[in-house]
Subunit: 120 residues, 2 copies
């Protein structure tokens, strides 16, 4: 069998509610990852595309975060309402969803406008 | 800042001890992921290479499993003793560690010799 055509990692990290960095899955229920998984199963993509839980992806100020490999496409502020569009446009159509992309200038940056905003 | 040069996902999944599929991190301590993280920090690679916890990578019969993206290189039966070699040969030298590779024919396969062996 081939490698995964796309491998989607969905941050399911938790931190205490008082942590200024917040976290991507405060309820600890992996609802976003499950939404991807269910949609992929409905489309018969199991085994070709995987939606994986991940630990902290270290872009906390943009969370909830998702990264799609091998493309290395990063999405921020993703909700369950975005899952269909990401799968249809990007996973199937190879066209990343522009409106959800984390700008390259923000990735792994010491500071960015979003980081400041979360530190309010 | 650029995207991660390499993004290492280390399966930290747990299952009950009675589960025939076993799991990659029965102690639930993420020791393998931490070993990668410490070594990368020692080498000053933080922010360029990330060792991430992941949920089940779905190649359980080969575990403990590690996948390196964007290369999509899969390793099986990885232990803390392998971390230096993976980082030095693959992450720095771009030469995957052949002896630890999961064969393409096993990835996502319905059955493979390793799957049968774990079902003893």
């Amino acid at each position: 069998m081939p490698k995964f055509h796309k491998h989607i990692f969905v941050c399911c990290n938790q931190r205490p509610a008082t942590d200024p960095r917040r976290c991507c899955d405060p309820a600890g229920k992996a609802d976003l990852q499950r939404a991807f998984k269910i949609k992929l199963a409905q489309l018969g993509m199991k085994g070709r595309v995987r939606a994986n839980k991940s630990g902290c992806l270290d872009q906390c100020e943009h969370g909830p975060n998702v990264v799609v490999y091998p493309d290395a496409v990063w999405y921020g502020h993703v909700t369950a309402a975005d899952v269909d569009e990401i799968i249809e446009s990007h996973i199937i159509g190879n066209k990343p969803v522009e409106r959800l992309l984390i700008p390259d200038s923000c990735l792994n940056a010491e500071s960015c406008p979003h980081k400041q905003r979360r530190g309010d």
